[in-house]
Amino acid sequence: MRWSRSSVAGLLLAVFNASSAAAPELTLQMFHKQKYIMGTVFEVVLYDTSAEHADQAMDAALEEIVRLDWVMSDYKPDSELNKLNRTAHFQAQKVSPDLYRVMTESLRYSKLSDGKFDVTIAPLADRWKAVLRGKPVPSAEEEQALRACVGYEKVELIPPDQIEFHSPCMRIDLGSIGKGYAVDRAAEVLRVHGIKIALINAGGSTFYGMGAPPGSAGWLVHLRDPSQKIDPQVTLCENTVSTSEQTPKSLLGNEPAGHIIDPADGLPLKTSYALSVVATSGTASDALSTTLLLVGPEKGKGLVEGIKDAAAIWVSAEGHTEMASTGPQIRTGGTSQGRSSTASSKQELCCTEK
């Protein structure tokens, strides 16, 4: 039995079924499963009393993500998204509820961020990814032509289920929101299977914490710290955290590039920050992480202030931090720097309920 497929960790906790004094004592065990999907490793950790039931639940959750990969992938030629990318320039296309929902959310964050978050960035992003693979940087003319293909305003959502592009060269890339959406759907699948305590990890960039592990207030997650001085942490309980960071700079002085493109100038974002954001759904935290990295802490704090139950931390390579919160606590170096003490009470209450 491979740890990589499915296994049970050594943390065994006896729990007592309070509904009946005569009921047998059940052993709550921790299970883990992982699968390579969407170009990264998705992992599910959950607590349950039955290995068989846990296995079924984890399989179902991971299969849901596999299914969504066929909806949202820009790598699979036959994915629903790629079919849309090939045809929506000509006329409105009917799409699945998942694709319609994730596009609706995408455009919502585009409006919220005045276009900093933009899933139509694909033509530019792909060109800069090619630079990362060794191609020369695009000329000004090429860049201008590609920028003409970009713009969320050129996407029309026609309720209840149609999408049309108003640009002949537009393409959608859901890389900045798709994994978060997939994590939300996987969490739903776990709930349908009766799972109450679980953690879902989408390749390290988005974590979803359901309930709290026995004996704890939630799922402790250390956040990305490029300075290695701050050690920011969050305890997840019925919420999510996502992290965004620009591709590391070349060590050998190669041409600058990066996978996060600023729609404002069409160029790879220059920032030394890593940004982590806590929200109530994976879709939200995933989309916000790109958005807040792009807008930076000055404007980003204002954005966070307008979102219920959200928190964000920017950590620079030098160890400078900026934070904002409307509830969840992000602790640094073992100390709490979240501004709301009620957020703490709320988290503990949330986890006590489980």
């Binding site: 491979r2 740890w3 050594g10 990362l132 693979r133 402790l220 002085g253 982590s276």
Partner: protein, 480 residues
């Protein structure tokens, strides 16, 4: 303790080990009974040395096995004497870290004293091959760390093998690893066939010998003739056979990146990451670091301060169009007489003839970024092989020196069926795929783009092999 620190002395010792070893799987047997060699399908076993090992070795020998003792270095001499008298096939020396510096001398003495006994040095610091997620189980729960979306982490032994293989051409590396059973239930459940298959596939694809550790449960069950255990083992046997068959011809590896590891301590992790990113590299031996030895190479990565002799080779290589990356090479060199064409915090880039020399001034603290930098420096048209959408798969290209045919070994660390898109430099009319599960051979349809042959392997589960032939090779009768 860095793996590099363990590695260097072990590699030096490998050069002194026995010649002529085949690419084989040896099973490490720790139980007191063993099924017949013919049933197990593995003819060589390694027995950890103990006071009663000799009795068991003779019993195993009677069942058809060639028996090797794994011995700590300090017991090597007494064991060798007993082994020579008892007709034991050989000794596998497993020096501890502290013993490694002196092990070469001991080995030479043993060889002289016991010429009929085979001696090999074990690289005991291999890693369990696997694709890893990020979740780390800890006593108090689960520790996580967020990041930008990470590529799957692949634990592979390719760097370990390559560093040993190319430095010491007179023998195949022999390595072993311990299964990570830090989780008690994992330990209790043991390993399944796919775990053993991946370990065998990896060693076979890298053309190395492996001492495979079987779980106690599996050993006992096989010895007790338990049907379930034999069902598992029969699956594993397909991999033993497949990779033993594939290794007979010993083709040479194909590479466009040359690596000189003057300082193996500092080079192990960057080389490990280069392996993980499917950069086709070759670790140079002393005789290979010459103008002729670098022929056909695109990039030279040099992990130390160049000697005067090597400075000339480096200049020649760059003059003829190569790219040289010098790591932590402080000193005065001829190319520094010109102004750097580019300059960054840690790197100076000098144009030298048709090529360039890049001086990187520090130690490599981010091997992942370094490996990706090396990939960007490779010229596309000279890259022997590329994979797409296959982040859990390693590819190792070989060329058969007699026929010039290309062979690709593929290993999928996810152990789930994967469609792998491949691009190979050259024009190949015939592309055939074989695997332990499906046998030989499925014809794949090649396409031709810009001097490359492109094709899709539809179903790589754990390991497989692609054979590529040009039109003229295809028309030639098969050579033995």
């Amino acid at each position: 303790m860095s793996i590099g620190k363990i590695l260097i002395p072990a590699l030096l010792l490998c050069g002194l080990a026995a010649r002529g070893a085949a690419g084989k799987v040896l099973v490490r047997w720790t139980q007191h009974t063993i099924p017949a060699a013919k049933s197990l399908g593995v003819m060589e076993i390694a027995i950890p040395w103990s006071s009663d090992a000799m009795d068991f070795a003779q019993a195993a020998h009677a069942k058809g096995y060639q028996v090797y003792f794994e011995v700590p270095l300090q017991q090597a001499e007494t064991t060798a004497e007993a082994a020579a008298k008892a007709g034991i096939a050989g000794l596998i020396l497993a020096p501890s870290l502290a013993e490694q510096q002196g092990a070469g001398d001991i080995l030479q003495k043993l060889r002289l004293a016991y010429p009929k006994v085979s001696f090999r040095i074990l690289l005991s610091n291999g890693k369990e091959p696997r694709m890893k997620g990020q979740i780390v189980s800890q006593r108090n729960g689960v520790l996580q760390e967020t990041s930008a979306t990470a590529q799957p982490w692949v634990e592979s032994n390719l760097a370990l093998v390559r560093l040993a293989q190319e430095s010491h051409l007179d023998q195949r590396p022999l390595y072993s690893f311990a299964w990570d059973d830090s989780d008690p239930l994992q330990k209790q459940l043991g390993r399944d066939a796919a775990d053993y298959e991946l370990a065998i596939a990896e060693a076979g694809a890298f053309h190395a010998d492996l001492i495979l550790e079987l779980s106690e449960n599996l050993q006992k069950s096989l010895a007790n003739d338990a049907p379930e255990a034999w069902t598992t083992w029969k699956q594993v046997q397909r991999f033993v056979d497949f990779y033993h068959r594939g290794n007979r011809d010993v083709p040479e590896s194909v590479a466009s990146v040359a690596v000189w590891t003057g300082d193996a301590n500092g080079s192990y992790e960057p080389v490990n990451l280069m392996a993980r990113h499917n950069i086709p590299f070759r670790v140079l031996s002393k005789k290979d670091l010459s103008t002729s030895g670098l022929k056909g190479m695109d990039v030279l990565v040099y992990f130390s301060a160049p000697t005067k002799e090597h400075t000339g080779v480096i200049s020649d290589f760059a003059m003829s169009g190569g790219t040289v990356v010098l790591v932590n090479a402080h000193g005065t060199f001829p190319w520094q007489s010109t102004t750097p064409a580019r300059h960054s915090d840690q790197a100076n880039v000098y144009t030298v003839g048709k090529g360039r020399v890049i001086e990187f001034s520090g130690y490599i603290t981010d091997p992942e970024t370094f490996a990706q930098d090396i990939r960007r420096l490779m010229s596309k048209e000279r890259t022997p092989v590329n994979l797409w959408n296959s982040l859990t798969t390693l590819v190792v290209p070989y060329r058969d020196p007699r026929t010039d045919q290309i062979v690709l070994e593929l290993i999928n660390y996810e152990q789930e069926p994967l469609q792998v898109q491949v691009q190979v430099r050259g024009r190949f009319a015939s592309v055939r795929y074989e695997s332990p599960e499906q046998g030989c051979c499925e014809a794949l349809t090649p396409g031709f783009v810009d001097g490359f042959t492109e094709f899709v392997v539809p179903h790589v589960v754990i390991g497989g092999r692609v054979h590529l032939q040009t039109a003229s090779q295809k028309d030639e009768p098969a050579k033995k």
